[in-house]
Point group: C2
DNA sequence: AACAATTGTTGTCGTCAACAACAATCTTCC
DNA sequence: GGAAGATTGTTGTTGACGACAACAATTGTT
């Protein structure tokens, strides 16, 4: 990979979107095109929670990936390590269920984390089908650093939408955690 | 960016990934203990806006897709049609920028919508490189129906998180639209 | 012991974002 | 006026991610 894709490269923001350098003529019936002043309306989209949430989530993930770019940890990896760290010995099935991840997907995530010596799969003594997941010593130390960086990312969120708004957001969406 | 990360050459040949360390201790005597009470803590994850937003976005998209399943319209398709409907004559580049979609991705989206006779690409007279996007008559009629279904979806959101909370959410995230 | 369910794993398919390269076509600058 | 550079739509590749299906090993259930 070497390239994690999704590196944000925050927009260059250049000039506004000019609809067309030339004239946007071609007299179509619609005369009220706000395109002339460079504004592109969203119409009904502005009232849809899903659209705003999607855009916000993209922004948040990009900031998270950038803030934790130095340690090469993505949001999903962070969530897996956090849950394992707080609940040592969990099975892969339990982690997958708790985080809403497919267990097939978790296999690859753990392969990666295990190769980096952050997580270890210990054969369960009580159920030889399953693995008891633990953080390695290196994983524990790393997670502490990840959490510091994640807290920094969270501060970025607070700066972006406001401290109070962030707390309201967490309260409103607390049912989804 | 600039991530060296790990090599992807795992591919097949699974087998010996587990280092099988001689970790004698690590009290594996109680492997699946924490599962017994069914409670799995999220630890720091509970305080991360990104995690809650991601889970919420998954829920919202699923409800949107289900609610508009009868007409086979997905959120991104709906957003494209809404913007074109509100701003006829836009170029693909302008739509892509406004919605934060890659223009390469928009090509396929428009291919699909054009095949269904919902959107038409009209060769621009002023810039022969670009296409002026319009809704077809069928597209306009369909969009009206889509909007009714989308409004129903929005009511589901209000039921899920509460009417007032939904409005606060829209207000908090208004900067991202 | 026979049968059903669970766990981890592998594999496939489809969606989606980020990039790179390209032809056709402006735009700009000399 | 014409060469050089930028833009638009397009195709293709890569990687992250979710949904499923199939499988071996191992429970559990009867």
């Amino acid at each position: 990979m070497t390239r994690n894709s999704q590196a944000p490269r925050i927009a260059k923001s250049r000039a506004g979107i000019r609809p067309r350098p030339g004239r946007t003529r071609s007299g179509n019936g619609n005369a009220h095109n706000d395109l002339m002043n460079g504004e592109i309306g969203l119409d009904a989209l502005a009232g849809h929670a899903g659209y705003a949430v999607r855009r916000f989530q993209i922004w948040i993930f990009q900031d998270f990936i950038r803030t934790l770019g130095a340690v090469d940890i993505r949001p999903t990896q962070y969530s897996v390590m956090t849950v394992i760290g707080a609940n040592p010995g969990l099975s892969q099935m339990a982690v997958a269920k708790r985080l809403g991840i497919e267990r097939a997907r978790l296999v690859h995530l753990l392969d990666s984390l295990e190769q980096r010596d952050l997580v270890s799969r210990v054969k369960s003594a009580t159920d030889r089908r399953s693995h008891a997941l633990h953080l390695t010593p290196r994983g524990k130390a790393s997670l502490a650093q990840f959490k510091r960086l994640a807290a920094e990312h969270e501060r970025h969120v607070a700066e972006k939408i406001g401290k109070d708004n962030r707390e309201q957001l967490l309260r409103i969406l607390s049912a989804f955690t």
